[in-house]
Assembly symmetry: D3
Homo-oligomer: 136 residues x 6
């Protein structure tokens, strides 16, 4: 149950701006599948285009980090932010990019551990060690 | 300014339980440096030991994920949880484990992007696509 | 599936304290509809009354900010806190107070952008510029 | 460095609404000390009064939970929300209401544990067991 | 809908590591019921064991805080982190350990109040009073 | 104390990509002042450019929401995310765009109220009323 309607393929075909973005999503990912986040954003074509192009340039462009690692980082942030949809979609993406069951298990444990020490540090209000300083 | 005192090396030497943990931290990491989180936890020696052993078994044991990737995931969670100390300490750790300036820049962009889409998805209450279902 | 029962109109009628609050909600809003948050709070009549009167004095009293803007701010906070129910109820309220589809789209984009830069700033631990200082 | 000025005792004396709230804080708590949150709220006297009266009725009224437990719950929420000021002020309050060093240590460990399992559950998207259902 | 399968009792019986943990959960709690978090963790037996032993040593060991208070603190953290499953499971646990309807109502009000003042303090960026300083 | 160095004007002048973005920030805002977020992002010129252009297109382009309202929404999100820097910078921006002291006070009260009800709703796990459904 979303706060906006999800745009169908028929509606998307009829809107040139949306169609261009949906086409680019399909071409970039090599699949016909358009997941719901894009269908929810589609009623604001400018917002859809801005969001997709930002995501594409960060996640699909060549870089130093491999696609699987990028998706595992995405899962980590999405978990801490409590975004169910994002946890689901990026877990599926990480698996599609080669995340093994063992890696998934280790990722879970690191996320859980970080959740624990983040809370301990905040509850204790631990001051930053001067040794960590890199700023000018 | 912490909510508890930070234990000095002198006090730690005088407490057998704390000394054992501090010695293990130093041996495991190959450095004399004990950062402030452990000094803040030290007035509850059982909690100190529990926390350290948990962290050690997740972060220092062999596994499928390399140490640098583990630290980058830690940064991602710590950022979303708003833990300044943790962001500092794990950024330092990631650099010590080989994170380059380019990788750091890409990590920042993925974290920022995830923050954005997490918020969009929650604001739009996007329903999970059935295609993501892996549960039984 | 809530952690408490939701109070029915029949039960509410039988409890003088709850009935008084439900009557005031209906009179203030000009509708018979009592949404679930109030039904969930009703088993603690003092808490129900305290919460409603606080909300009423902030959201329904005259002020410098118009009702539509108040609801959009509410959506923004509720999104960042990951409260699905609140996102739904305040999106409905904002629309009832005149939020257009275009304004909704812009609100989404601002919330997403803020989510992104919030994460970037925290990951980079950017120090506050002295130019922003207004305190004494 | 706050985003508003902190009201001094001299200014507070000159504003009847603020003076009444400050007097009530001092009388309720049995101390002359007014901490900074009230000085920051004071430039909006209606907001100051609303916030203080809400807090007073929840924290200072008789009830089933003792004052020390109330403050420990406050620390727990404030930690998860990353509010440094609140962690400091409610840790001081909990100590003033009798929280021992051992209880503080146990509180830290519960908060840390909850942080960990909260993250694990979200990352795994664990469905609620029907056995937990109490709703109608 | 979880991101991993939930392990059935049949599968758990066939895995010595998982069986040992499930047996210990049943023995420690005095019930045959294994809730879903453990079934979701079970495909990473080392992570399952680490998480359970950590939780057991914090929540089930003797200490200064009684079991009911521990669970109420757990609810407080889980709420602020937006973990639905955790709110449900620890509300059930708190009730099983004697939390009355009145205590539950007061807990709700403290959590709500803390949510409010946490936000006010952060929005106003209130500086910590030097009176709260306990660090060395 | 940031996790990266802040780029000085001298360094920015020497980097064509950074200089182009800094020039555009100055031209768009009509001021010579470049605040620290951009100096922290500058060591990843592609990330700097991507972030600035995204922000510019959301915050500086014409639209249905006026600039002051956009900034107040930004403050709301930044508060709930606990981003001190962002609260400071966008409070300054909102004031520069005409936010009065009264509007600031009302904004604080709405943010605080939303923080409270967000927590209450999550702690009570209130189910979404079917009346709020707008999805297809």
């Amino acid at each position: 149950m979303s706060t906006v309607k999800l745009m169908s393929d028929e509606e998307a075909e009829a809107n040139a701006l949306v169609k261009a973005v949906f086409d680019d999503i399909r071409a970039t990912r090599g699949t016909d599948f358009i997941n719901n986040i894009w269908r929810a954003l589609a009623y604001d074509p400018a917002g859809l285009k801005r969001t997709w192009e930002h995501l594409k340039s960060v996640m699909a462009a060549p870089g130093a980090l491999d696609p699987k690692t990028r998706e595992m980082i995405y899962i980590a942030v999405s978990t801490a932010n409590g975004c169910s949809y994002c946890v689901h979609s990026h877990t599926a993406a990480a698996k599609a990019r080669g995340m093994t069951e063992q890696e998934h298990g280790e990722l879970m444990q690191i996320i859980g551990l970080a959740g624990m020490t983040n809370h301990l540090v905040t509850a204790l209000q631990v001051p930053v060690d001067p040794e960590f300083n890199v700023s000018n």
